[in-house]
Symmetry: C2
Subunit: 327 residues, 2 copies
Protein backbone atom coordinates (compact mmCIF):
# COMPACT_ATOMS: atom_id res chain seq x y z
CA UNK A 1 0.00 0.00 0.00
CA UNK A 2 1.00 3.62 -0.58
CA UNK A 3 -0.04 6.34 1.85
CA UNK A 4 0.21 10.13 1.90
CA UNK A 5 -1.15 12.90 4.12
CA UNK A 6 -2.80 15.97 2.64
CA UNK A 7 -2.23 19.18 4.55
CA UNK A 8 -5.37 20.36 6.33
CA UNK A 9 -6.17 22.27 9.52
CA UNK A 10 -5.28 19.30 11.77
CA UNK A 11 -1.74 18.53 12.95
CA UNK A 12 -1.83 14.98 11.56
CA UNK A 13 -3.25 15.82 8.11
CA UNK A 14 -5.77 13.90 5.99
CA UNK A 15 -4.81 10.31 5.17
CA UNK A 16 -5.09 9.23 1.53
CA UNK A 17 -4.34 5.98 -0.24
CA UNK A 18 -2.27 6.61 -3.38
CA UNK A 19 -2.57 4.33 -6.40
CA UNK A 20 0.41 2.14 -7.26
CA UNK A 21 1.17 4.31 -10.31
CA UNK A 22 1.12 7.43 -8.09
CA UNK A 23 -1.54 9.14 -10.21
CA UNK A 24 -4.72 8.85 -8.13
CA UNK A 25 -5.69 9.13 -4.50
CA UNK A 26 -8.71 8.45 -2.33
CA UNK A 27 -9.58 9.56 1.20
CA UNK A 28 -10.56 6.85 3.66
CA UNK A 29 -12.08 8.66 6.68
CA UNK A 30 -14.29 5.72 7.59
CA UNK A 31 -11.17 3.55 7.98
CA UNK A 32 -8.66 5.96 9.53
CA UNK A 33 -8.58 9.72 10.05
CA UNK A 34 -4.82 10.03 9.74
CA UNK A 35 -1.81 7.84 9.08
CA UNK A 36 -0.92 8.06 12.78
CA UNK A 37 -4.41 6.81 13.60
CA UNK A 38 -3.91 3.92 11.14
CA UNK A 39 -0.54 3.07 12.71
CA UNK A 40 -2.12 2.98 16.18
CA UNK A 41 -4.92 0.63 15.04
CA UNK A 42 -3.01 -1.18 12.28
CA UNK A 43 -4.21 -4.72 12.89
CA UNK A 44 -7.82 -3.56 12.81
CA UNK A 45 -7.62 -1.21 9.82
CA UNK A 46 -4.99 -2.81 7.56
CA UNK A 47 -7.35 -5.37 5.91
CA UNK A 48 -9.88 -2.68 4.99
CA UNK A 49 -7.13 -0.40 3.68
CA UNK A 50 -5.69 -3.24 1.59
CA UNK A 51 -9.10 -3.95 0.07
CA UNK A 52 -9.59 -0.27 -0.78
CA UNK A 53 -6.08 -0.05 -2.23
CA UNK A 54 -6.75 -2.97 -4.56
CA UNK A 55 -10.03 -1.43 -5.68
CA UNK A 56 -8.21 1.89 -6.30
CA UNK A 57 -5.60 0.17 -8.47
CA UNK A 58 -8.32 -1.73 -10.35
CA UNK A 59 -10.09 1.53 -11.19
CA UNK A 60 -13.19 0.41 -9.28
CA UNK A 61 -13.59 3.51 -7.09
CA UNK A 62 -15.62 6.54 -8.14
CA UNK A 63 -14.41 9.03 -5.51
CA UNK A 64 -10.77 9.24 -6.59
CA UNK A 65 -8.88 12.41 -7.51
CA UNK A 66 -5.53 13.31 -9.04
CA UNK A 67 -2.72 12.90 -6.51
CA UNK A 68 -0.85 16.19 -5.96
CA UNK A 69 2.45 15.90 -4.06
CA UNK A 70 2.42 19.67 -3.49
CA UNK A 71 -0.72 19.24 -1.37
CA UNK A 72 1.11 16.84 0.94
CA UNK A 73 2.75 17.26 4.30
CA UNK A 74 5.07 14.57 5.57
CA UNK A 75 3.31 11.17 5.56
CA UNK A 76 3.40 11.49 9.36
CA UNK A 77 3.47 15.26 10.04
CA UNK A 78 4.28 14.38 13.66
CA UNK A 79 5.05 11.06 15.29
CA UNK A 80 5.85 9.61 18.73
CA UNK A 81 9.61 9.19 18.30
CA UNK A 82 12.11 10.06 15.55
CA UNK A 83 15.39 8.20 15.97
CA UNK A 84 18.12 8.57 13.39
CA UNK A 85 21.12 6.30 13.09
CA UNK A 86 24.38 6.62 11.18
CA UNK A 87 24.26 3.16 9.65
CA UNK A 88 26.45 3.78 6.60
CA UNK A 89 29.89 3.47 8.10
CA UNK A 90 31.52 5.08 5.08
CA UNK A 91 29.63 8.28 5.91
CA UNK A 92 30.46 8.11 9.59
CA UNK A 93 34.18 7.65 8.97
CA UNK A 94 34.27 10.57 6.54
CA UNK A 95 32.35 12.74 9.01
CA UNK A 96 34.89 12.01 11.74
CA UNK A 97 37.45 13.59 9.46
CA UNK A 98 35.14 16.45 8.52
CA UNK A 99 34.31 17.27 12.16
CA UNK A 100 37.75 16.33 13.52
CA UNK A 101 36.09 14.24 16.23
CA UNK A 102 37.66 11.14 17.82
CA UNK A 103 36.80 7.68 16.44
CA UNK A 104 33.42 6.46 17.74
CA UNK A 105 33.86 3.43 20.04
CA UNK A 106 32.48 0.12 18.70
CA UNK A 107 31.34 1.94 15.53
CA UNK A 108 31.48 -1.27 13.44
CA UNK A 109 29.40 -3.36 15.83
CA UNK A 110 26.98 -1.08 17.75
CA UNK A 111 24.79 1.42 15.86
CA UNK A 112 24.99 5.10 16.80
CA UNK A 113 21.68 6.94 16.92
CA UNK A 114 20.34 10.28 18.07
CA UNK A 115 16.81 11.29 19.02
CA UNK A 116 15.38 14.13 16.96
CA UNK A 117 12.33 16.35 17.22
CA UNK A 118 9.23 14.55 15.96
CA UNK A 119 6.55 17.22 16.46
CA UNK A 120 7.00 19.29 13.31
CA UNK A 121 8.03 17.37 10.18
CA UNK A 122 8.05 19.11 6.80
CA UNK A 123 6.35 17.94 3.61
CA UNK A 124 8.14 17.26 0.33
CA UNK A 125 7.78 20.69 -1.29
CA UNK A 126 7.45 22.99 1.73
CA UNK A 127 9.95 25.83 2.01
CA UNK A 128 12.49 25.29 4.78
CA UNK A 129 12.99 28.38 6.96
CA UNK A 130 16.31 28.31 8.80
CA UNK A 131 17.84 30.93 11.07
CA UNK A 132 21.11 31.73 9.26
CA UNK A 133 23.27 30.91 6.24
CA UNK A 134 26.20 31.00 8.66
CA UNK A 135 25.06 27.75 10.29
CA UNK A 136 26.40 25.51 7.49
CA UNK A 137 23.05 24.46 5.98
CA UNK A 138 23.25 20.90 4.65
CA UNK A 139 20.89 18.16 3.44
CA UNK A 140 21.14 14.46 4.30
CA UNK A 141 19.38 11.95 2.05
CA UNK A 142 18.18 8.90 3.97
CA UNK A 143 15.76 6.01 4.12
CA UNK A 144 13.68 5.16 7.19
CA UNK A 145 11.03 2.84 8.58
CA UNK A 146 7.81 3.47 10.47
CA UNK A 147 7.18 0.84 13.13
CA UNK A 148 4.21 -0.55 15.01
CA UNK A 149 4.43 -1.13 18.78
CA UNK A 150 7.96 -2.36 19.56
CA UNK A 151 8.37 -3.93 23.03
CA UNK A 152 11.38 -3.06 25.19
CA UNK A 153 14.35 -5.36 24.49
CA UNK A 154 12.99 -6.69 21.18
CA UNK A 155 15.49 -8.74 19.16
CA UNK A 156 16.48 -7.54 15.66
CA UNK A 157 14.23 -10.24 14.17
CA UNK A 158 11.27 -9.15 16.31
CA UNK A 159 12.04 -5.51 15.54
CA UNK A 160 12.14 -6.12 11.78
CA UNK A 161 8.73 -7.76 12.01
CA UNK A 162 7.42 -4.50 13.53
CA UNK A 163 8.26 -2.50 10.39
CA UNK A 164 5.01 -1.23 8.86
CA UNK A 165 6.15 1.36 6.32
CA UNK A 166 9.25 2.56 4.49
CA UNK A 167 9.93 6.27 3.94
CA UNK A 168 12.42 8.59 2.23
CA UNK A 169 13.90 11.40 4.31
CA UNK A 170 15.92 14.60 4.15
CA UNK A 171 17.44 15.07 7.61
CA UNK A 172 18.38 18.76 7.45
CA UNK A 173 21.59 19.57 9.31
CA UNK A 174 23.36 22.71 10.47
CA UNK A 175 27.02 21.76 10.25
CA UNK A 176 28.44 24.75 12.10
CA UNK A 177 26.53 23.62 15.20
CA UNK A 178 27.23 19.88 15.03
CA UNK A 179 30.83 19.48 16.23
CA UNK A 180 30.28 21.32 19.53
CA UNK A 181 27.16 19.27 20.23
CA UNK A 182 29.03 16.05 19.45
CA UNK A 183 31.91 17.04 21.70
CA UNK A 184 29.46 17.80 24.54
CA UNK A 185 28.48 14.12 24.44
CA UNK A 186 24.80 15.10 24.66
CA UNK A 187 24.35 14.77 20.90
CA UNK A 188 22.67 16.76 18.14
CA UNK A 189 19.92 19.23 19.00
CA UNK A 190 20.44 22.70 17.53
CA UNK A 191 22.26 21.01 14.63
CA UNK A 192 19.04 19.26 13.61
CA UNK A 193 16.12 21.46 12.53
CA UNK A 194 12.80 20.00 11.36
CA UNK A 195 13.18 16.91 9.15
CA UNK A 196 11.56 16.53 5.70
CA UNK A 197 9.89 13.53 4.08
CA UNK A 198 9.02 12.40 0.56
CA UNK A 199 5.23 12.39 0.06
CA UNK A 200 4.53 8.66 0.00
CA UNK A 201 5.08 6.05 2.71
CA UNK A 202 4.86 2.48 1.44
CA UNK A 203 4.38 -0.94 2.96
CA UNK A 204 7.55 -3.03 2.46
CA UNK A 205 5.83 -5.36 -0.06
CA UNK A 206 5.51 -2.42 -2.47
CA UNK A 207 9.29 -2.41 -2.83
CA UNK A 208 9.41 -6.02 -4.07
CA UNK A 209 13.01 -7.19 -4.36
CA UNK A 210 14.20 -3.70 -3.38
CA UNK A 211 13.28 -4.55 0.26
CA UNK A 212 15.81 -7.24 1.19
CA UNK A 213 17.89 -8.01 4.30
CA UNK A 214 16.08 -5.23 6.16
CA UNK A 215 17.51 -2.66 3.76
CA UNK A 216 16.17 -0.45 0.96
CA UNK A 217 18.05 -1.74 -2.09
CA UNK A 218 17.77 1.42 -4.18
CA UNK A 219 20.00 4.33 -5.14
CA UNK A 220 18.95 7.74 -3.81
CA UNK A 221 19.34 10.34 -6.55
CA UNK A 222 20.25 13.77 -5.19
CA UNK A 223 20.35 17.04 -7.15
CA UNK A 224 21.44 20.39 -5.69
CA UNK A 225 20.12 23.38 -7.66
CA UNK A 226 19.42 21.03 -10.55
CA UNK A 227 22.92 19.58 -10.72
CA UNK A 228 23.72 15.95 -10.02
CA UNK A 229 25.17 15.49 -6.54
CA UNK A 230 25.14 11.71 -6.14
CA UNK A 231 23.12 8.52 -6.14
CA UNK A 232 24.52 6.37 -3.32
CA UNK A 233 22.83 2.98 -2.93
CA UNK A 234 20.85 1.95 0.15
CA UNK A 235 22.01 -1.65 -0.05
CA UNK A 236 25.41 -0.73 1.39
CA UNK A 237 23.87 0.02 4.83
CA UNK A 238 26.06 -1.63 7.47
CA UNK A 239 23.23 -2.37 9.92
CA UNK A 240 19.77 -3.62 8.96
CA UNK A 241 16.65 -1.72 9.99
CA UNK A 242 15.90 -4.68 12.30
CA UNK A 243 19.19 -4.03 14.10
CA UNK A 244 18.52 -0.28 14.23
CA UNK A 245 14.99 -0.63 15.64
CA UNK A 246 16.20 -3.18 18.23
CA UNK A 247 18.96 -0.75 19.23
CA UNK A 248 16.35 1.99 19.74
CA UNK A 249 14.17 -0.30 21.89
CA UNK A 250 16.97 -1.64 24.11
CA UNK A 251 15.67 0.02 27.29
CA UNK A 252 12.19 1.32 26.38
CA UNK A 253 9.28 0.52 24.14
CA UNK A 254 8.53 2.42 20.93
CA UNK A 255 4.90 3.40 20.44
CA UNK A 256 3.21 2.90 17.04
CA UNK A 257 4.20 5.37 14.33
CA UNK A 258 7.74 5.91 15.62
CA UNK A 259 10.30 6.40 12.83
CA UNK A 260 13.85 5.05 12.67
CA UNK A 261 16.21 6.49 10.03
CA UNK A 262 19.29 5.09 8.34
CA UNK A 263 21.48 8.17 8.48
CA UNK A 264 22.98 9.61 5.30
CA UNK A 265 23.12 7.07 2.48
CA UNK A 266 26.77 6.71 1.56
CA UNK A 267 28.88 4.38 -0.56
CA UNK A 268 32.59 3.72 -0.41
CA UNK A 269 32.83 4.07 -4.23
CA UNK A 270 33.65 7.73 -4.94
CA UNK A 271 31.76 7.42 -8.25
CA UNK A 272 28.44 7.24 -6.34
CA UNK A 273 28.76 10.85 -5.22
CA UNK A 274 27.21 11.88 -1.93
CA UNK A 275 23.85 12.54 -0.28
CA UNK A 276 25.11 15.42 1.87
CA UNK A 277 27.41 18.38 1.27
CA UNK A 278 29.61 17.78 4.30
CA UNK A 279 30.67 14.42 2.92
CA UNK A 280 31.57 15.92 -0.45
CA UNK A 281 33.60 18.60 1.30
CA UNK A 282 35.72 16.13 3.25
CA UNK A 283 36.22 14.00 0.13
CA UNK A 284 37.46 17.14 -1.67
CA UNK A 285 39.87 17.75 1.18
CA UNK A 286 41.15 14.15 1.13
CA UNK A 287 41.28 13.64 -2.63
CA UNK A 288 42.07 17.16 -3.85
CA UNK A 289 43.71 18.71 -0.79
CA UNK A 290 41.24 21.57 -0.68
CA UNK A 291 37.54 22.14 0.09
CA UNK A 292 35.81 23.71 -2.93
CA UNK A 293 32.11 23.33 -2.10
CA UNK A 294 30.27 25.66 0.27
CA UNK A 295 27.07 24.97 2.16
CA UNK A 296 23.54 25.96 1.04
CA UNK A 297 22.37 29.54 0.66
CA UNK A 298 18.84 30.89 1.04
CA UNK A 299 17.05 30.21 -2.25
CA UNK A 300 18.96 26.99 -2.94
CA UNK A 301 16.98 23.87 -3.80
CA UNK A 302 17.64 20.20 -3.16
CA UNK A 303 15.85 17.33 -4.94
CA UNK A 304 15.91 13.72 -3.77
CA UNK A 305 14.32 10.69 -5.39
CA UNK A 306 14.93 6.99 -4.86
CA UNK A 307 14.94 4.94 -8.06
CA UNK A 308 15.00 1.22 -8.71
CA UNK A 309 18.22 -0.34 -9.94
CA UNK A 310 16.74 -0.50 -13.44
CA UNK A 311 16.17 3.26 -13.44
CA UNK A 312 12.42 3.27 -12.84
CA UNK A 313 11.17 5.94 -10.44
CA UNK A 314 10.86 4.75 -6.85
CA UNK A 315 7.55 4.62 -4.95
CA UNK A 316 8.20 7.43 -2.45
CA UNK A 317 7.84 10.40 -4.78
CA UNK A 318 10.19 13.37 -4.78
CA UNK A 319 11.54 15.71 -2.11
CA UNK A 320 12.09 19.10 -3.80
CA UNK A 321 12.59 21.94 -1.34
CA UNK A 322 13.97 25.42 -1.11
CA UNK A 323 15.85 26.84 1.87
CA UNK A 324 14.59 30.29 2.88
CA UNK A 325 15.30 33.01 5.42
CA UNK A 326 13.23 32.85 8.61
CA UNK A 327 9.78 34.37 8.32
CA UNK B 1 -3.54 26.45 38.88
CA UNK B 2 -2.70 22.86 39.65
CA UNK B 3 -3.28 20.13 37.07
CA UNK B 4 -3.06 16.34 37.06
CA UNK B 5 -4.01 13.58 34.61
CA UNK B 6 -5.93 10.53 35.76
CA UNK B 7 -5.04 7.31 33.98
CA UNK B 8 -7.82 6.14 31.64
CA UNK B 9 -8.01 4.25 28.36
CA UNK B 10 -6.68 7.19 26.32
CA UNK B 11 -2.98 7.94 25.82
CA UNK B 12 -3.31 11.50 27.18
CA UNK B 13 -5.36 10.67 30.30
CA UNK B 14 -8.21 12.63 31.91
CA UNK B 15 -7.40 16.19 32.89
CA UNK B 16 -8.32 17.27 36.43
CA UNK B 17 -7.90 20.52 38.31
CA UNK B 18 -6.47 19.88 41.77
CA UNK B 19 -7.29 22.17 44.68
CA UNK B 20 -4.53 24.33 46.11
CA UNK B 21 -4.37 22.14 49.23
CA UNK B 22 -4.02 19.03 47.05
CA UNK B 23 -7.06 17.33 48.62
CA UNK B 24 -9.76 17.66 45.99
CA UNK B 25 -10.06 17.39 42.23
CA UNK B 26 -12.60 18.08 39.54
CA UNK B 27 -12.81 16.99 35.90
CA UNK B 28 -13.27 19.71 33.29
CA UNK B 29 -14.22 17.90 30.04
CA UNK B 30 -16.20 20.87 28.73
CA UNK B 31 -13.03 23.00 28.94
CA UNK B 32 -10.29 20.55 27.89
CA UNK B 33 -10.16 16.80 27.40
CA UNK B 34 -6.53 16.47 28.41
CA UNK B 35 -3.68 18.63 29.63
CA UNK B 36 -2.11 18.40 26.16
CA UNK B 37 -5.38 19.68 24.70
CA UNK B 38 -5.32 22.56 27.21
CA UNK B 39 -1.70 23.38 26.29
CA UNK B 40 -2.61 23.50 22.60
CA UNK B 41 -5.55 25.87 23.19
CA UNK B 42 -4.18 27.67 26.27
CA UNK B 43 -5.22 31.22 25.44
CA UNK B 44 -8.78 30.07 24.85
CA UNK B 45 -9.17 27.73 27.81
CA UNK B 46 -6.99 29.31 30.52
CA UNK B 47 -9.59 31.89 31.69
CA UNK B 48 -12.26 29.21 32.14
CA UNK B 49 -9.83 26.92 33.93
CA UNK B 50 -8.78 29.75 36.25
CA UNK B 51 -12.41 30.48 37.10
CA UNK B 52 -13.09 26.81 37.84
CA UNK B 53 -9.91 26.56 39.93
CA UNK B 54 -10.98 29.49 42.09
CA UNK B 55 -14.43 27.96 42.57
CA UNK B 56 -12.79 24.64 43.52
CA UNK B 57 -10.63 26.35 46.15
CA UNK B 58 -13.62 28.28 47.46
CA UNK B 59 -15.56 25.03 47.97
CA UNK B 60 -18.23 26.17 45.51
CA UNK B 61 -18.24 23.07 43.29
CA UNK B 62 -20.47 20.07 43.92
CA UNK B 63 -18.81 17.56 41.58
CA UNK B 64 -15.42 17.33 43.35
CA UNK B 65 -13.79 14.14 44.58
CA UNK B 66 -10.79 13.22 46.72
CA UNK B 67 -7.54 13.60 44.76
CA UNK B 68 -5.64 10.29 44.57
CA UNK B 69 -2.04 10.55 43.32
CA UNK B 70 -1.98 6.78 42.76
CA UNK B 71 -4.66 7.24 40.08
CA UNK B 72 -2.42 9.61 38.15
CA UNK B 73 -0.19 9.18 35.16
CA UNK B 74 2.36 11.85 34.34
CA UNK B 75 0.65 15.28 34.04
CA UNK B 76 1.45 14.95 30.32
CA UNK B 77 1.63 11.18 29.67
CA UNK B 78 3.09 12.05 26.27
CA UNK B 79 4.18 15.36 24.80
CA UNK B 80 5.63 16.80 21.57
CA UNK B 81 9.25 17.18 22.71
CA UNK B 82 11.18 16.30 25.88
CA UNK B 83 14.49 18.13 26.07
CA UNK B 84 16.69 17.73 29.11
CA UNK B 85 19.60 19.97 29.99
CA UNK B 86 22.44 19.63 32.46
CA UNK B 87 22.07 23.09 33.94
CA UNK B 88 23.64 22.46 37.36
CA UNK B 89 27.32 22.73 36.52
CA UNK B 90 28.34 21.12 39.80
CA UNK B 91 26.60 17.93 38.63
CA UNK B 92 28.12 18.08 35.16
CA UNK B 93 31.65 18.51 36.47
CA UNK B 94 31.26 15.60 38.87
CA UNK B 95 29.81 13.43 36.08
CA UNK B 96 32.82 14.14 33.87
CA UNK B 97 34.91 12.54 36.59
CA UNK B 98 32.40 9.70 37.08
CA UNK B 99 32.29 8.88 33.37
CA UNK B 100 35.92 9.77 32.66
CA UNK B 101 34.83 11.89 29.69
CA UNK B 102 36.69 14.96 28.41
CA UNK B 103 35.60 18.44 29.60
CA UNK B 104 32.55 19.69 27.71
CA UNK B 105 33.44 22.71 25.52
CA UNK B 106 31.86 26.04 26.59
CA UNK B 107 30.13 24.24 29.48
CA UNK B 108 29.91 27.44 31.58
CA UNK B 109 28.36 29.56 28.85
CA UNK B 110 26.31 27.30 26.52
CA UNK B 111 23.77 24.82 27.95
CA UNK B 112 24.11 21.14 27.06
CA UNK B 113 20.87 19.34 26.32
CA UNK B 114 19.73 16.00 24.94
CA UNK B 115 16.43 15.03 23.34
CA UNK B 116 14.62 12.19 25.09
CA UNK B 117 11.63 10.00 24.27
CA UNK B 118 8.37 11.83 24.93
CA UNK B 119 5.82 9.18 23.94
CA UNK B 120 5.64 7.09 27.12
CA UNK B 121 6.10 9.03 30.38
CA UNK B 122 5.47 7.28 33.71
CA UNK B 123 3.21 8.47 36.52
CA UNK B 124 4.36 9.15 40.08
CA UNK B 125 3.68 5.72 41.60
CA UNK B 126 3.91 3.43 38.57
CA UNK B 127 6.39 0.56 38.77
CA UNK B 128 9.40 1.08 36.52
CA UNK B 129 10.26 -2.03 34.48
CA UNK B 130 13.87 -2.00 33.28
CA UNK B 131 15.77 -4.64 31.34
CA UNK B 132 18.63 -5.47 33.71
CA UNK B 133 20.20 -4.64 37.10
CA UNK B 134 23.54 -4.77 35.26
CA UNK B 135 22.74 -1.51 33.45
CA UNK B 136 23.54 0.71 36.45
CA UNK B 137 19.99 1.81 37.32
CA UNK B 138 19.97 5.37 38.66
CA UNK B 139 17.47 8.13 39.41
CA UNK B 140 17.90 11.83 38.61
CA UNK B 141 15.77 14.35 40.49
CA UNK B 142 14.98 17.41 38.39
CA UNK B 143 12.66 20.32 37.80
CA UNK B 144 11.19 21.17 34.40
CA UNK B 145 8.87 23.52 32.54
CA UNK B 146 6.05 22.92 30.06
CA UNK B 147 5.97 25.55 27.33
CA UNK B 148 3.42 26.95 24.94
CA UNK B 149 4.34 27.53 21.28
CA UNK B 150 7.96 28.74 21.15
CA UNK B 151 9.03 30.29 17.84
CA UNK B 152 12.38 29.40 16.28
CA UNK B 153 15.19 31.67 17.53
CA UNK B 154 13.24 33.02 20.52
CA UNK B 155 15.34 35.05 22.97
CA UNK B 156 15.66 33.85 26.60
CA UNK B 157 13.19 36.56 27.65
CA UNK B 158 10.68 35.50 24.99
CA UNK B 159 11.26 31.86 25.88
CA UNK B 160 10.66 32.47 29.60
CA UNK B 161 7.35 34.15 28.74
CA UNK B 162 6.33 30.89 26.99
CA UNK B 163 6.55 28.88 30.24
CA UNK B 164 3.06 27.65 31.12
CA UNK B 165 3.67 25.05 33.84
CA UNK B 166 6.37 23.83 36.22
CA UNK B 167 6.89 20.11 36.88
CA UNK B 168 9.01 17.78 39.03
CA UNK B 169 10.82 14.95 37.25
CA UNK B 170 12.75 11.73 37.79
CA UNK B 171 14.88 11.25 34.67
CA UNK B 172 15.74 7.54 35.00
CA UNK B 173 19.23 6.72 33.76
CA UNK B 174 21.15 3.55 32.96
CA UNK B 175 24.72 4.46 33.87
CA UNK B 176 26.43 1.47 32.30
CA UNK B 177 25.15 2.61 28.91
CA UNK B 178 25.84 6.35 29.21
CA UNK B 179 29.60 6.70 28.71
CA UNK B 180 29.66 4.86 25.36
CA UNK B 181 26.75 6.95 24.09
CA UNK B 182 28.47 10.16 25.21
CA UNK B 183 31.72 9.13 23.53
CA UNK B 184 29.82 8.39 20.29
CA UNK B 185 28.88 12.08 20.20
CA UNK B 186 25.30 11.13 19.31
CA UNK B 187 24.14 11.46 22.93
CA UNK B 188 21.95 9.49 25.31
CA UNK B 189 19.41 7.05 23.94
CA UNK B 190 19.60 3.57 25.49
CA UNK B 191 20.89 5.25 28.67
CA UNK B 192 17.54 7.05 29.07
CA UNK B 193 14.46 4.87 29.58
CA UNK B 194 10.98 6.36 30.11
CA UNK B 195 10.97 9.44 32.36
CA UNK B 196 8.73 9.84 35.45
CA UNK B 197 6.82 12.86 36.73
CA UNK B 198 5.31 13.99 40.02
CA UNK B 199 1.51 14.03 39.80
CA UNK B 200 0.84 17.77 39.73
CA UNK B 201 1.90 20.37 37.17
CA UNK B 202 1.50 23.95 38.39
CA UNK B 203 1.33 27.37 36.81
CA UNK B 204 4.37 29.44 37.90
CA UNK B 205 2.24 31.78 40.04
CA UNK B 206 1.44 28.82 42.35
CA UNK B 207 5.09 28.80 43.42
CA UNK B 208 5.01 32.40 44.67
CA UNK B 209 8.51 33.54 45.63
CA UNK B 210 9.82 30.05 44.87
CA UNK B 211 9.61 30.92 41.13
CA UNK B 212 12.28 33.57 40.69
CA UNK B 213 14.93 34.33 38.05
CA UNK B 214 13.48 31.56 35.86
CA UNK B 215 14.39 28.97 38.49
CA UNK B 216 12.55 26.78 40.98
CA UNK B 217 13.83 28.05 44.33
CA UNK B 218 13.12 24.90 46.33
CA UNK B 219 15.12 21.98 47.69
CA UNK B 220 14.29 18.58 46.18
CA UNK B 221 14.16 15.96 48.96
CA UNK B 222 15.27 12.52 47.78
CA UNK B 223 14.97 9.26 49.72
CA UNK B 224 16.28 5.89 48.49
CA UNK B 225 14.59 2.93 50.17
CA UNK B 226 13.39 5.27 52.88
CA UNK B 227 16.81 6.69 53.71
CA UNK B 228 17.77 10.32 53.17
CA UNK B 229 19.83 10.77 50.02
CA UNK B 230 19.91 14.54 49.62
CA UNK B 231 17.96 17.75 49.25
CA UNK B 232 19.88 19.89 46.75
CA UNK B 233 18.33 23.28 46.03
CA UNK B 234 16.97 24.32 42.64
CA UNK B 235 18.10 27.92 43.05
CA UNK B 236 21.71 26.97 42.28
CA UNK B 237 20.81 26.25 38.62
CA UNK B 238 23.49 27.87 36.43
CA UNK B 239 21.17 28.62 33.50
CA UNK B 240 17.59 29.91 33.80
CA UNK B 241 14.71 28.04 32.20
CA UNK B 242 14.44 30.98 29.80
CA UNK B 243 17.98 30.32 28.65
CA UNK B 244 17.33 26.57 28.37
CA UNK B 245 14.13 26.95 26.33
CA UNK B 246 15.82 29.48 24.02
CA UNK B 247 18.69 27.03 23.54
CA UNK B 248 16.20 24.31 22.56
CA UNK B 249 14.48 26.62 20.06
CA UNK B 250 17.66 27.94 18.40
CA UNK B 251 16.95 26.28 15.02
CA UNK B 252 13.35 25.01 15.26
CA UNK B 253 10.08 25.85 16.92
CA UNK B 254 8.73 23.95 19.94
CA UNK B 255 5.07 23.00 19.73
CA UNK B 256 2.78 23.52 22.77
CA UNK B 257 3.21 21.03 25.60
CA UNK B 258 6.93 20.48 24.99
CA UNK B 259 8.91 19.97 28.22
CA UNK B 260 12.39 21.29 29.03
CA UNK B 261 14.19 19.83 32.05
CA UNK B 262 16.92 21.21 34.30
CA UNK B 263 19.07 18.11 34.58
CA UNK B 264 19.94 16.65 37.97
CA UNK B 265 19.58 19.20 40.77
CA UNK B 266 23.00 19.52 42.36
CA UNK B 267 24.70 21.83 44.85
CA UNK B 268 28.37 22.45 45.39
CA UNK B 269 27.89 22.10 49.17
CA UNK B 270 28.54 18.45 50.05
CA UNK B 271 26.05 18.77 52.93
CA UNK B 272 23.15 18.98 50.45
CA UNK B 273 23.64 15.36 49.40
CA UNK B 274 22.72 14.35 45.87
CA UNK B 275 19.71 13.73 43.63
CA UNK B 276 21.33 10.83 41.74
CA UNK B 277 23.45 7.85 42.75
CA UNK B 278 26.18 8.43 40.19
CA UNK B 279 26.99 11.78 41.74
CA UNK B 280 27.24 10.28 45.25
CA UNK B 281 29.56 7.58 43.89
CA UNK B 282 32.00 10.02 42.37
CA UNK B 283 31.94 12.14 45.54
CA UNK B 284 32.79 9.02 47.53
CA UNK B 285 35.68 8.37 45.17
CA UNK B 286 36.97 11.95 45.46
CA UNK B 287 36.41 12.47 49.19
CA UNK B 288 36.93 8.94 50.53
CA UNK B 289 39.08 7.36 47.83
CA UNK B 290 36.66 4.52 47.25
CA UNK B 291 33.15 3.99 45.81
CA UNK B 292 30.89 2.43 48.45
CA UNK B 293 27.41 2.87 46.96
CA UNK B 294 26.01 0.54 44.27
CA UNK B 295 23.22 1.29 41.82
CA UNK B 296 19.55 0.31 42.26
CA UNK B 297 18.29 -3.27 42.42
CA UNK B 298 14.88 -4.58 41.38
CA UNK B 299 12.51 -3.89 44.28
CA UNK B 300 14.31 -0.68 45.32
CA UNK B 301 12.22 2.46 45.78
CA UNK B 302 13.02 6.13 45.28
CA UNK B 303 10.96 9.00 46.70
CA UNK B 304 11.26 12.61 45.56
CA UNK B 305 9.43 15.66 46.86
CA UNK B 306 10.17 19.35 46.47
CA UNK B 307 9.58 21.42 49.61
CA UNK B 308 9.57 25.12 50.26
CA UNK B 309 12.51 26.65 52.07
CA UNK B 310 10.41 26.82 55.24
CA UNK B 311 9.82 23.08 55.13
CA UNK B 312 6.24 23.09 53.82
CA UNK B 313 5.43 20.44 51.23
CA UNK B 314 5.81 21.62 47.66
CA UNK B 315 2.93 21.80 45.18
CA UNK B 316 3.99 18.98 42.83
CA UNK B 317 3.17 15.99 45.06
CA UNK B 318 5.45 13.01 45.48
CA UNK B 319 7.25 10.66 43.11
CA UNK B 320 7.46 7.28 44.87
CA UNK B 321 8.36 4.43 42.55
CA UNK B 322 9.76 0.93 42.60
CA UNK B 323 12.13 -0.50 40.01
CA UNK B 324 11.05 -3.94 38.78
CA UNK B 325 12.21 -6.67 36.41
CA UNK B 326 10.78 -6.49 32.88
CA UNK B 327 7.30 -7.98 32.53
Amino acid sequence: MKFASLKNETPDGQLVLVSRDGKFAVVVPELASSLLDAMQRWDVVAPGLQQRYEALNAGELSDTFAFQPTACGAPLPRCPQWLDASAFLNHGRLMEQAFNTPPIPDFDTIPVMYQGASDDFLGPTQDVPLPSEQDGIDFEGEFGVVVGAVPMAATPEQALACVRLVVQINDWSLRALGPREMKSGFGFLQAKPSTSFAPIAVTPDELGAAWRDGRVQMPLHVLWNGERFGEPHGGEMNFSFGELVAHAARSRKLTPGSIVGSGTVSNSARSAGSACISERRVIEKIDLGDIKTGFMKFGDRVRMQAKYDDGREGPFGVIDQRVVAPN
